[in-house]
Amino acid sequence: MTLVSETRSIRNGERLALAKVPQLPLGELQSWLDERIAAGGQLSALFGVPLDSTALALYAVTTAATSGTIAVAETVVKGRYPALTPRVPQAHWFEREIAEQWGVVPEGHPWLKPIRFHASYASGRDAWNRAAGEAILPGVTDYFRVEGEEIHEVAVGPVHAGVIEPGHFRFQCHGEHVFTLEIELGYQHRGIERQLVGGPTKRTLHYMETLAGDTTIGHAAAYSQAVEGLSGSAPPLRAQAIRVIALELERLANHVGDLGALAQDVGYLPTASYCGRLRGDFLNATAMICGNRFGRGTVRPGGVGFDIDESLAKALCEKVEAALRDVEGATRLLWTTSSVMARFEETGRVSRATASELGLVGPAARACGIDRDIRRDFPSGYYRFAQLPVSTWHSGDAFARAYLRWLEVNRSARFIIEQLRALPHTTLRAEVGPLEPNSLVVALVEGWRGEICHVALTDDDGRFAHYKVVDPSFHNWIGLAMSLRDQQISDFPLCNKSFNLSYCGHDL
């Protein structure tokens, strides 16, 4: 097989002329995918772009961590096609999305259901033969059913007990014992991707900053990287450094918040209280840079919106150092308290094999021992010049997902301090010219939840012909479902928090 060498590889954020995307017959695309995934690759995106009223182009984006390269291939399908999922399980959620959006049917898909509950974008075509105009109710669909006299079903959501986003969870239980959990989302669907076509517009950056509000920097960075790749512009070094500082601060705030929430869910209040406050300290550090706790306005195509001058850098260093000391004290309590450890260990275990087969990303994957991190494997921006070590843990349980966060907190905080002390002296913004027409770019960023993948395609006029967003949660929701197998239903909050996935980032 010489398929891989036939496919042009690109780097993170590198523009590729659409004409150079190999167009493969479906069978060849399947073998190409098989080969890439078998070699340890990840299916980072798989999406449909309508060609005309019947034909749909399917784009597959695979990423190979060992070589740091990204490969793209395209095939054309009509109406029905043999599903890729049976041989490439990583494709399962993507193919459900494609079916829902474009009304094509991936035949042989093991569990073909909607993921967001909206009408098909292709008029007159619906994967489930629903009539046009028929009301589509979220969460109303088939569910896995375990039959038996003593089996009961537990349904939770969309409105939950805490202040969290809406989603529906369906458990098949025998007493406290959970056989399966199925997760239905789509309640947060606000139609962002469709609005991106024809852009960039004055709203585009704001869509990016609110794809998932807790990942404002991550998504804005991926978007900016895509625009910079398409326009052939490069942000000045100082701007690149400020971006990674902001991205690592975002990771710190969320990881620390999660450590507190995990403590809360096992009823250990000291750490819950301290980390609740400390998360705010990191958010406030971000607000010192840009005025907003979530980093709005920090990342702009071509650079950043705000500078970190010497006195601010010093103040930030002190703030991060102090907060890190307090986080260390707060989390040490977790690891040395046996009642906490008894709840964390062996709860919600996901095996490495399952994680890799389903294509989990980010801390959820690294907690299963998968050594993969965009910052190291596909470095872009300032990560090409300043590295930080990748953390992994092997046990795949709630403890691993908690402990991994602490490892990353420690490393990110030290990294930020290092960068703040050596900011390059350049301008903050480069001019961003028009986008190259008929091009494609793949932008990858390691957000705090894991791999953020944006794929932008331009038309003849250099406007977005299509814009695909893959939030890390898109890959990882199935991981949460797997972690609940053969667990106690009372462990659900702990497992859920140990993943802490985004509903809005998934629903878009």
Binding site: R116, F117, H118, L137, P138, P158, V159, A161, G162, V163, I164, E165, P166, G186, Y187, Q188, H189, R190, G191, I192, Q195, K202, R203, L205, H206, Y207, T210, L211, A212, G213, D214, T216, P270, S273, Y274, G276, R277, G280, N284, A287, M288, I289, C290, G291, N292, R293, F294, R296, G297, G305, F306, D326, G329, A330, R332, L333, T336, S502, Y503, C504
Partner: protein, 260 residues
């Protein structure tokens, strides 16, 4: 046990003294209430209105700024050739009415307290159920922050409860997606009357960045009556707390001139 006590000692007391004492110092670049110095506006200039991502600014003879749509971004400031737009450090933004958020140079009335009868019911104990109905989870995050030791919401007798049956009202975030409309309606109906509704954030007030998308409903008051609007994208926790305390009559310091 000793290590827990030791850590408790080390972490210290962190609850802010506001509103009894001064509010915490906000970062220099914090974007609170926007002000427009219209005397600087050149005739016929519409640069800010053109740049505003949600069309919160309109110029029809006079300039109007709808705080309910404002994302508190910097696009208008950067577009303004005269530097006429600035954000102040003022975090107090809540209003009892949707129209009250339209700043057109007249006085902006901060939220007034509930009527005497309702205040007698809720003034010292207010239980709220949060409904996240679209949006980006930013507002939810900063509503959550109110329950941390820093803001310690329960010292005001306000708490967030797990069921609408236990609640005196709702906090709504998000533009109300089509897929959450029914759930919101049901949650509202399940809340026993008398009840109040608080809309938090640009999405819940106007649809925010998603205004006019067919997948959503341009805010909470398209589905349920709203008693308090708290602007921001997302509003700072202090802004939310200020709004809630005003509603309960725990803070009263009248109206404030808008500088437009």
């Amino acid at each position: 046990m000793l290590k827990v006590l030791g850590e408790r000692w080390r972490q210290g007391h962190r609850t802010i003294s506001w509103p009894a004492g001064a509010p915490p110092v906000l970062p220099e670049r914090f974007r609170g209430l926007p002000v427009v110095d219209t005397s600087k506006c050149p005739d016929g200039c519409r640069e800010c209105a053109k740049a505003c991502p949600t069309d919160a600014i309109t110029v029809n003879g006079s300039l109007k700024l709808d705080l309910g749509r404002c994302l508190f971004c910097t696009d208008c400031m950067e577009a303004c050739p005269e530097g006429a737009i600035a954000y102040t450090q003022d975090f107090r933004l809540a209003s009892r009415t949707r129209d009250g958020l339209a700043m057109d140079g007249s006085a902006l009335a901060l939220a007034a307290a509930l009527d005497e009868k309702t205040r007698r019911l809720f003034g010292r104990s207010l239980q709220l159920r949060e409904v996240s109905a679209g949006g980006c989870n930013g507002c939810e995050a900063d509503v959550n922050v109110l329950s941390t030791i820093v803001f310690d919401l329960s010292r005001f007798g306000i708490s967030i409860v797990a069921s609408p049956r236990h609640a005196d009202g709702l906090i709504i975030t998000g533009p109300v997606t089509q897929n959450m409309k029914l759930a919101l309606r049901k949650t509202y109906d399940a809340t026993p009357p008398p009840k109040i509704v608080v809309a938090v954030g640009a999405c819940a007030i106007s649809g925010g960045p998603y205004v006019d998308h067919p997948e959503q409903n341009n805010g909470a008051d398209s589905v349920v009556p709203v008693d308090l609007y708290i602007p921001g994208c997302p509003p700072h926790p202090l802004t939310i707390l200020d709004g809630l305390l005003r509603l309960l009559g725990r803070i009263e310091d009248g109206t404030r001139r808008a500088a437009t």
